[in-house]
């Protein structure tokens, strides 16, 4: 016994150290830097004094420091407002537990497809008046991304960026196959993919996990279909267009891709330099282009395969979480902060995102940032799910159906999509029953 204790104890100590190391892992915080006497354009009323704002976002990756830079710049220009940024993972769990404890921040980033759910769950509050005060209007945004921030007739969020599905390609493999430009149409796509696919080289890798569901949504839209009916009460992806879309994906997989790839395997394969093209979120740009790879990796807009151009995209949006008591000083400061962040979102573009604001995208500063600037036109074709609560739940069965078809668990495309639609409709009905028609009055 004694001998055992002698070696178990040190190990337990080590374990304890490891655990405590994890426990204290710091969340990146942008230190407040109240600058010297510097006149700023807008300041909250003098009566408020120095207003402190908490700002939460899910930017725990390499994009976090860019956001921190923007927050520091804001703090430097606004001596009367001190914004503290906290980036954290498990983001929506954090938000909902904070909501239960009434410790929500003053400003928070929320994804476009989560705005409605969070609004119905009393995490967010409507900000119609503040948005009007800020002078921000939907005219400065593509219709889809702006509509995602409206829930039951009220505005809950302002789009910061749009992050579209992006085509990454290996220019060296392209050149070796006699191509210089990335494909823009289905024919061009087939031509280059077929030319590159030989031996160990693959023209286009596609997985059976993320983001195949998103690629399917994009193809579905391109072939003229849509995921849901307009009011989000019924799944409609089992249409003719849906079958065409999934059949196209299955075909390119069998022709140009390795079969049965797991999540991220297409990116890892691409990075080894043996894959001509992959499609993934724009946030992978630094990972698979430039210094991230040893070949000439490039990013560009996805091609138009179907008769209608459409691009899958997500969007980060500024929101103001709910509080038991509303502080007008903080509201005013938050409005100034959000407006500043939107207007200066060109810094955010450097993190690999496309600013949602049309005027920011039109600026010469943004146009100098590549490859973001050349991908930017595609966000005009971005589509977003209907703004109903729990809509992301209804995508669950779709992800399963697309994943199952791409992984070869089933061959019957129509049946898989039908089955998924039936299940999604059940989920939509359940959501409708539990959430009701509008969030609780603010």
């Amino acid at each position: 016994m004694k001998r055992i204790t002698r070696f178990v104890l040190p190990l337990i100590l080590v374990l304890g150290l490891l655990l405590s190391a994890c426990g204290t892992a710091a969340t990146p915080e942008a230190p407040a830097q109240p600058a010297a006497e510097q006149p700023a354009a807008e300041q909250p009323a003098d009566a408020c004094g120095v207003v402190e704002l908490q700002y939460w976002n899910p930017f725990t990756g390499p994009d976090g420091p860019f956001m921190g830079e923007m927050v520091n710049a804001f703090n430097a220009e606004h001596p009367d407002i001190v914004v503290t940024m906290v980036s954290q993972g498990e983001y929506y769990t954090q938000l909902s537990t904070a909501a239960a404890a009434d410790t929500l921040p003053d400003v928070a980033i929320v994804h476009a497809d989560q705005v409605s759910t969070q609004a119905f769950r009393n995490v967010l509050r409507p900000i119609d008046d503040l948005v009007a005060e800020m002078g921000i209007s939907g005219d400065d945004y593509p219709a889809g991304v702006w509509a995602a921030g409206e829930v039951a007739g009220h505005r809950y969020s302002i789009p910061l960026d749009i992050h579209p599905m992006t085509a990454f390609y290996n220019a060296d493999l392209f050149a070796a196959a006699g191509f210089t430009d990335a494909p823009k149409t289905g024919e061009e796509f087939d031509a280059v993919a077929a030319a590159i696919t030989s031996g160990d080289n693959k023209g286009f890798d596609i997985t059976g996990g993320f983001p195949v569901q998103q690629i399917f949504q994009m193809m579905l839209q391109q072939f003229g279909g849509s995921e849901f009916n307009a009011d989000g009460t019924e799944a409609t992806w089992n249409s003719e267009a849906g079958v065409q879309a999934l059949q196209w994906m299955k075909d390119v997989q069998s022709k140009y891709s390795e079969p049965n790839l797991e999540v991220d395997a297409e990116l890892n394969a691409f990075k080894t330099g043996t894959v001509g093209m992959v499609w993934n979120g724009i946030w992978q740009t630094t990972n698979v282009t430039g210094d991230g790879v040893e070949f000439d990796g490039r990013a560009t807009a996805v091609p138009q395969i179907g008769p209608k151009m459409a691009v899958w995209a997500g969007s980060h949006q500024f929101t103001m979480p709910a509080h038991k008591t509303v502080d007008p000083c903080k509201d005013q400061a938050a409005a100034i902060f959000i407006k500043y962040m939107i207007e200066n979102s060109v810094t955010w573009a450097k993190a690999g995102q496309i600013p949602a604001s049309i005027s920011v995208r039109a600026s010469s500063e943004f146009k100098a940032i590549e490859p973001q600037a050349s991908i930017a036109p595609s966000v005009e074709f971005a589509f977003f799910p209907p703004s109903v609560p729990g809509i992301t739940d209804a995508f669950g069965p779709l992800g399963e159906a697309v994943g199952a078809v791409m992984n070869g668990t089933t061959d019957d495309i129509k049946a898989a999509l039908d089955d998924a639609a039936t299940r999604a409709n059940e989920i939509l009905a359940q959501n409708k029953a539990t959430y009701g028609d509008a969030p609780k009055a603010p």
Partner: protein
């Protein structure tokens, strides 16, 4: 010490004072949540929408038994996944550590070193071991497929096809947790008096006979303990599939082929967010675990 007379019976307070600190933690972190969960399971409940709380009686349970409904498919699929994992992992997690413990209980050079080596993975966090094994099993330049290809074997897609995805999770788990069971077995082995073996040897028993007739019976209480805690630990499977396969491969009928029930409950309660039906799922899982543990006790106690 203090003796209180209550209906002529004498109750000692001192022992209760000793268990009080733990009792408080037990009540706060296990007792209260358990009954609170049981209570919530009869409601349509979301803690952020108190205005929508609705008593639904047994509806949350009925939904889980309604054949063909989404909840039925997803919940029972995940139960099946977890049970499959338990069936695959528990025998290995008992037999391999027992074998290791017996090997490392001999008086050869370097046993201490090997004990530390086999125990070492257990101190790693779930995320770390999952990442390590992900890198071994992944299809693009993963260690295993790289070597399999070198010697000319098939290179299956370990993380995205069945049954390989389940195998990867079982292998990773065995490597991770076998050290803990091994240490307990070692402690128990060292408690077996040596004279029993000596007596058996004098009577002419060979090593297998000694193992079957002395080691196994003497280890029985520890064996039951190990089996039960391993089953319970395996039932709590969550991190490995979350990090390694993310529930993949997806099944056309719904649910992931490696989506464990704990992940399903978490998603139902915190992603969906229907805490009422998530609580109902937890209650059913708790009942299944109790039945398992109880059956275990019965099976092994019959041998006494």
């Amino acid at each position: 010490m203090t003796i209180v007379s209550l209906r002529k019976r004498k109750i000692q307070i001192t022992p209760y004072l000793f268990i009080l600190p733990h009792l408080i933690f037990f009540v706060v972190f296990i007792g209260y949540p358990f009954f609170s969960g049981l209570y919530i399971s009869f409601f349509q409940y979301d803690y952020l929408r108190p205005e929508a709380t609705l008593f639904v009686g047994l509806q949350n349970y009925i939904d889980l038994f309604k054949t063909g409904s989404v909840k039925f498919i997803e919940f029972w699929n995940s139960i099946k996944v977890t049970l499959t994992f338990v069936i695959y992992s528990v025998p290995f997690l008992v037999i391999i550590p027992l074998g290791l413990a017996i090997l490392l209980n001999t008086k050869i050079a370097g046993t201490k070193f090997f004990r530390a080596v086999y125990f070492a993975p257990w101190v790693l966090s779930c995320a770390v071991i999952s990442l390590i094994w992900w890198w071994i099993f992944q299809s693009q330049g993963g260690l295993l497929n790289y070597y399999l290809k070198l010697i000319g074997f098939d290179t299956p897609r370990w993380l995205s096809t069945m049954p390989y995805a389940m195998i990867t999770i079982v292998v990773a788990t065995i490597w991770w947790t076998m050290g803990y069971n091994m240490v307990i077995f070692l402690a128990a082995l060292q408690d077996i008096p040596n004279d029993l073996y000596e007596a058996a040897e004098i009577d002419g028993a060979n090593s297998w006979q000694r193992f079957v007739n002395i080691t196994i019976p003497m280890l029985q209480p520890v064996l039951i303990f190990i089996i039960i805690i391993t089953i319970i630990a395996s039932f709590n499977l969550l991190g490995q599939p979350l990090m390694m396969t993310r529930g993949a491969p997806a099944q056309p009928t719904g649910g992931g082929a490696t989506e464990p029930v704990m992940l399903r409950i978490f998603n139902e309660g915190f992603v969906r967010p229907f805490q009422g039906s998530a609580a109902a799922m937890s209650v059913i899982v708790a009942i299944i675990m109790m039945v398992f543990s109880f059956t275990n006790f019965r099976i092994f106690r019959q041998r006494d």
